[in-house]
């Protein structure tokens, strides 16, 4: 019997069910980027093996992997620990200053008028040029990197908190008041929740800036840390290990950004529709 013109199955009475799309079809958004990355690495590896470039100037995955192994058995862990510590301390300072100051500037119209132009101007300045100054002030050790992270990361936090408070929906405050909310209840039930999404955005931008700040700080003047390591390897033309360091930073930032997304969903479940869960 031929199956070439098989008729669609008829379900007597009941509705005709469309066939479930396959796993591959449903998850295209997830696996397509994986294919892209694998493709790039494969092409890169093949090109490297064809000796298209001087290994001093560039490298390819299998050799970079060896560089990675030499890092892991060498200074990698202690470098990551130092960089991580500098980053965390700097972020804590940025949050400790940015959050309360942002709330203050967002709450008071006068303070907002007085400071907003200054804050915005500073935010759009490439503060990274102050890195040498931080080294002069705080030395070659972790102090200058912490300061670097703090001065770069504080502005996105500050600005987003400020705008978040200012953007609180007036009709919600009105409704809360109408139902008897006092000042503190309005803070707790209206202002804070509506600021959360802004806070997460500020945090995401601050993390991006903070990572640049810590690595550039180490790159310019340090004795340890992942940024220092990248520079040291580059200077002695250990290109594979240098590129391994760069790739490690790419991976770390991808992981951190993914964590931020999870945090956002946890903190503000009303924003991202999670239907069907």
């Amino acid at each position: 019997m031929s199956t070439m013109t098989k008729p669609a199955p008829v379900s007597p009475g009941g509705p005709v069910r469309r066939p479930e799309p396959s796993w591959l079809k449903k998850n295209e958004k997830r696996w397509l980027p994986v294919v892209t990355v694998i493709g790039i690495f494969t092409a890169w590896e093949i090109a490297g093996n064809m000796n298209l470039w001087d290994p001093l100037f560039f490298s390819h995955p299998s050799v970079i992997w060896d560089g990675f192994l030499s890092l892991t058995t060498g200074p990698l862990l202690s470098d990551l620990r130092v960089t991580g510590l500098e980053f965390l301390l700097g972020m804590m300072i940025a949050l400790g200053i940015g959050v309360p100051l942002g709330i203050l500037l967002g709450t008071s119209k006068r303070l907002y008028w007085a400071f907003d132009p200054v804050v915005t101007a500073l935010y759009s300045t490439p503060i990274l040029v102050l890195t040498p100054l931080m080294v002069i002030w705080f030395g070659l050790g972790i102090g200058s990197k912490v300061a670097n992270v703090a001065i770069l990361a504080v502005f996105p936090v500050l600005i987003n908190m400020m705008e978040g408070v200012r953007n609180t929906d007036g009709s919600l405050m009105r409704a809360a008041k109408s139902f008897g909310a006092n000042g503190w209840a309005i803070q707790k039930d209206v202002i804070f929740p509506s600021v959360v999404p802004f806070f997460v955005t500020g945090l995401r931008l601050a993390i991006g800036k903070g990572m640049i700040a810590v690595v550039v700080g180490e790159y310019i003047a340090a004795t340890e840390g992942i940024g220092y390591r990248i520079r040291a390897d580059a200077e002695v033309f250990n290109t594979p290990r240098y590129l391994a360091g760069v790739l490690i930073m790419v991976v770390v930032s991808v992981i951190i950004m993914a964590l931020i997304k999870v945090l956002e969903r946890k903190l503000a479940p009303w924003r991202t529709p999670v239907l069907g869960e």
Partner: protein, 265 residues
Amino acid sequence: MPGTDNIAISVDHVTFGYGKEVILQDISIDVVEGEFVSLIGPSGCGKSTLLSMFDGVVRPDVGTVRIFGSTVQETLKQRAMVFQNFALMPWKTVRENVLLGLNYRRTDLSKKERLELAREYINRVGLTHALDLYPHQISGGMQQRVGIARAFAVQPRLLLMDEPFGALDAQNAELLREDLLKLVAEERRTVVFVTHNLDEALQMSDRVLLMTARPGTIRDEVRPDFGPKTSAEYRERYDSQRDLLWDHLKSEVLTVQAREEGQKP
């Protein structure tokens, strides 16, 4: 002279303006306890302003507003408001939104009792299945049901509603109208209801107040009375009262339009 103890709202020669512009001019109204009063008028005539005056958001420049014989400030706990844009907290579930007013006002009740009240009113607007959903997960009609449950849950003597169905499609508005009337009938609350819909006003109210174009004053007062729906005269009476209101409303709307035309360069 009739006693004043059953007067819910007494507005006495109230005038109000924003800056130099007079919004409400010399308004006097008495609303009797248990009455359902609709306010109708061209947009921008000050209906919302008048309602916010009853809710203590703005104060009259001249004249007085008294609610249940006391000041507006003293009677916060006796009234509740339903908003045109629903004004639900997006970060609160249906249950938490209905609990909002109870948590602020009914500190005399235990947490459990407040929750029970909230559940009861959520049930009465038919949303028990949506208790744990966020506003963005339910339709506009359902959101306004939450708004109505939130207001009824605090068991106010006075309900203020500012175009509560204005943001809904015709069918959802009709459904909610029925449910609201049922709730009001069951609980005998005083209601002041702002609308731009003549039929809504005529079908729901004991009394319809028609306001003029800005500066708003009360132009007409109609007590809808058409007899039972089954009677032969129902349609005729309904139409004649509607026509009267519409004639007057139309002239006010045209006044607003002419004014806006005049402002064009």
